[in-house]
């Protein structure tokens, strides 16, 4: 049976307009969704990616933090176990070691291929990251456009296939296209990471329907990556059925990154619980929550 997906959980515009749902008698999302956690205890609600168990459903991007000290505090506040890093030329004058900070935090590294525009460059970068960090995991990014940083779909798929063949655990940053997500899963990616909106834009999830379709289209974990602006966006991602959220700029560039890290952690847990609880359908007209029966006659008005 096809799982019922609440395509509207993430429709903030529809929610605000109120009258966006034409069929009150036949709501699109009437059935509770049984895709949420089997437990109410967030600590016991584990995510398994490529056989590895993660106790946190929040992935953290390390870019943009004002200092390594604040990054370390934010990692602690977020509860994350998996953080991204980029691979760049060694700068002998750099102060402090990111590698040391992350080792101390006891988080697993997820190297990215940010800045790569071709499958060839991304594959080489992944190989270098494997050599540097002794991990087979890679957040695969192949960028097709400098202004939007949107993925280059054909190159992404090529790189994914090659890296899977070389034994990598590939987590591709992808567009919110359900067909491409399925193709990526079909070539053996361990998860798919669709964008909500462009990297660093903070515009949230612009096409919640597609994110819900991606959740239906693949069996591997779906990680909402890019576009998260604040905690409610992360909650919406989880309500849509995403298995995890990756946040970077939304935390690192917040006025108080550590507090925002705590907010994201709570939002991911709240969204996950709400997803499992099954939201009520949206209706055009009110449904009284107090009984009609027993209403007193209070005389002429």
């Amino acid at each position: 049976m096809r799982e019922t997906i609440d395509t509207h959980a993430g429709g903030p515009d529809a929610a605000r307009n109120g009258a966006a749902e034409p069929a009150a008698a036949e709501p699109l999302a009437a059935e509770p969704v049984a895709a949420g956690p089997a437990t109410d205890d967030p600590a016991a609600d584990e995510l398994i990616v490529a056989g590895r168990t993660l106790r946190s459903r929040l992935l953290l991007g390390t870019g943009g933090f004002p200092s390594l000290a604040i990054l370390a505090e934010a990692i602690e506040a977020s509860g994350t176990e998996l953080v991204t890093v980029a691979l760049r030329r060694v700068d002998p004058s750099a102060r402090g070691s990111l590698v040391d900070v992350l080792a101390q935090a006891e988080v697993q590294l997820l190297p990215n291929t940010a800045g790569c525009h071709t499958a060839r460059d991304a594959v080489l970068t992944a190989r270098l990251a494997r050599e540097a960090f002794e991990t087979d995991w890679v957040k695969l990014e192949v960028i097709g456009d400098e202004d939007t940083l949107l993925p280059d779909a054909p190159e992404l798929l090529l790189a994914a296939e090659e890296l899977v063949d070389e034994g990598f655990v590939v987590l591709p940053y992808t567009s919110d296209d359900p067909v491409l997500a399925r193709r990526l899963a079909d070539v053996g990616c361990a998860a798919v990471m669709p964008l909500g909106s462009p990297i660093g834009s903070g515009m949230g999830i612009r096409n919640p329907y597609n994110i819900a379709l991606i959740r239906e289209a693949v069996k591997v974990p779906v990680v909402l990556d890019a576009g998260i602006g604040t905690a409610s966006d992360a909650a919406i991602a989880m309500e849509l059925g995403c298995d995890a959220v990756l946040a970077a700029s939304a935390i690192s560039r917040a006025a108080d990154p550590v507090r925002m890290a705590a907010a994201m952690r709570a939002a991911v847990q709240a969204g996950r619980l709400a997803r499992g609880a099954g939201r009520i359908p949206r209706r055009l007209y009110a449904t009284a929550s107090s009984p009609e029966a027993g209403l007193p006659e209070l005389g002429p008005s």
Binding site: L87, V90, E131, A132
Partner: protein, 67 residues
Amino acid sequence: MIVLNGEESDVRPGELLSAALARLQLDLQARGVAVAVDGEVVPRAQWSSYALAAHARVEVLTAMQGG
């Protein structure tokens, strides 16, 4: 002339990769470092035996905040 991280260096052809790394204040135990020569990964185990050819382009990379 050997190019080290995009800049002309004083590393001579025939010098070992480990000597090039020393120019960047890195030793063979440096954590979180990877090296490519002319677009190919050179595994850590070969750093102390890999002799650099003339015009070799050496990229020495490590983790930076990102993503």
